[in-house]
């Protein structure tokens, strides 16, 4: 049901589905928890840990915006066990532009609204904020600091910076404590102001300003992000629903691809959307009389309704059924 709603909405916006292989070159991904398989000729393949990279590999851009979406299984190793999830995402390929970022973000708001999800926050930031901080350090140090930021270990992040760089420490502290603490660094302030400008424009197209949080602390763990980045948090979830942003990547022909995208794991949404199937009519009856009931259910389906049969048993917990329950005579 979630897939159907998202598919319909994305197609209304002109996005088309792209299907990419489940197997890929292991070098495409840097993750440590990749599931690898060896074929009969000793060649090693990776079971895709995410789909976006494969999509970008297969995209060509000819100065006309390309809009694609994808849905499919992804794989990872967790404590030595292969885990399968279902990823849904979409990409808008076009050079960096404000309209492109507004479309990228507004699709998220539209989809969550279509799914009747009211309580969510979209955290937004720009990669320029941390690029500005990294300017103060050598490459090796930046790697270390990035790791702390990805781990959200803000204490070690500050500890790692020598006391002589007091001004940088103050800047980082202002990012951690924002908006409680004022950001004094003018370049950082300028970037934040650009985010406020984007927020105002999103408001103009009807997006609830309370659902957009400017968060200069937000950091996405991939180097290809360039510009706007974002992460979505639902009130009921214990981890972010998903994230994305503006990026520069290369396709398999070596061409530069500019785009904005968002991806999430479907299972996270299904855990909070238990009532999506409420429009199903559930017919409960004696399993021995299934043929007698057959026409009743067929009639419902001809009327355009969804109808399912569930055999009656003493252990059947009616309260667990999602939909309109009817007992067959």
């Amino acid at each position: 049901m979630i897939e159907k709603i998202i598919r319909n909405l994305l197609e209304e916006w002109g996005y088309r589905e792209i299907k990419v292989p489940i197997l890929g070159e292991p070098s495409l991904w840097k993750e440590n928890n990749i599931v690898k398989i060896i074929d009969g000729k000793g060649r090693i393949f990776a079971l895709r840990p995410e789909i976006t990279s494969l999509v970008i590999q297969n995209i060509s851009y000819n100065k006309i915006p390309v809009r694609v979406y994808y849905m499919g299984p992804i794989f990872s190793l967790e404590d030595g066990i292969v885990k399968e999830n279902f990823q849904i995402g979409w990409e808008l390929i076009n050079s960096q532009d404000e309209w492109r970022d507004i479309e990228g973000l507004s699709i998220i708001f539209n989809i969550l609204s279509k799914l009747n999800i009211e309580e969510f926050i979209v955290e937004i930031n720009t990669t320029e904020i941390w690029e500005n901080i990294w300017k103060n350090f050598e490459e090796e140090k930046i790697d270390k600091l990035r790791k702390y930021l990805i781990k959200r270990d803000y204490v070690s992040l500050i500890d790692e910076i020598s006391r002589e760089k007091r001004r940088v420490i103050e800047d980082i502290k202002s990012l951690i404590f924002y908006p409680k603490v004022e950001i004094r660094n003018l370049e950082l302030k300028f970037e934040i102001e650009k985010l406020y400008d984007l927020k105002r424009k999103l408001e103009k197209i009807g997006i609830d300003k309370n659902k957009i949080m400017i968060s200069p602390l937000l950091f996405r763990p991939f180097n290809y992000y360039n510009g706007l980045i974002f992460q979505v948090y639902l009130k009921e979830l214990k981890t972010p629903l998903g994230g994305g942003g503006s990026y520069i990547q290369y396709n398999k022909k070596g061409e530069k691809i500019f785009g904005i995208g968002f991806a999430f794991i479907e299972e996270k949404l299904t855990s909070v959307l238990s009532d999506l199937n409420n429009d199903i009519k559930i017919f409960i009856g004696d399993k021995e009389r299934y043929l007698e009931y057959y026409e009743t259910l067929a009639e419902e389906r001809r009327k355009g309704n969804k109808a399912v049969f569930i055999p009656y048993s003493e252990n059947l917990n009616i309260a667990e059924l999602k939909g309109e329950v009817k007992f067959l005579e």
Binding site: E123, R152, F177, L237, K238, P240
Partner: protein, 215 residues
Amino acid sequence: MNLKIAIPTGRLLEEGLNFLRNFDRGLPEPSQVSRRLIFRGDKFEILLVKPLDIPTYVEERITDLGIVGRDIIEEKMNRVAILKRLNFGKCKMVIASYPHWELSKNETIYVSTKYPNVTEKYLKEIWKGVNFKIVKLNGSIELAPLVKISSCIVDLVETGNTLRENNLVIKEVLFESSAYLIANEVSFVWKKSEILEFLDQIEYLEERYDKGNNL
């Protein structure tokens, strides 16, 4: 402020609760807690949790925040935001052994510890080229060299008394530990203003403490 906080049973309980009472006088004193595992103050709801489980409670968003030692954060490696080092629960994670023991690259070194992940991570870094095996124990780590389970241990040391009483000495300090404030990453968005307000109050308290005021 309406924050759920997990604090550890054991050595950090008293200091952790007294620390939180600086901000919420509605919380009971440690002596009044007895066997209650959940209690409320005026601002905070407190869950008393085994130290090793605190990062899990926070990651699973059963609580918004947790107070826990750095040793546990490093060992458990949960996905939580590490917000603040607190001024109590100070101790050290150390390698300890007999005074005459020396590291040898020609033999397999057995290391006993309650912290296998921390041990693996730090020894790989500082014992390059040394072949070592970790023996995971759940307590009385100082006993391991005495009964020859291992030649050295990695453990948390507060005063060093237990080491001394068992004729062990510190060979190397891996890191200094103390209590830390950790947060669930979704709570850090949904309850951002409350959490930042709390952090602000902690900073204010620390400043006053640094200026010599008795709090």
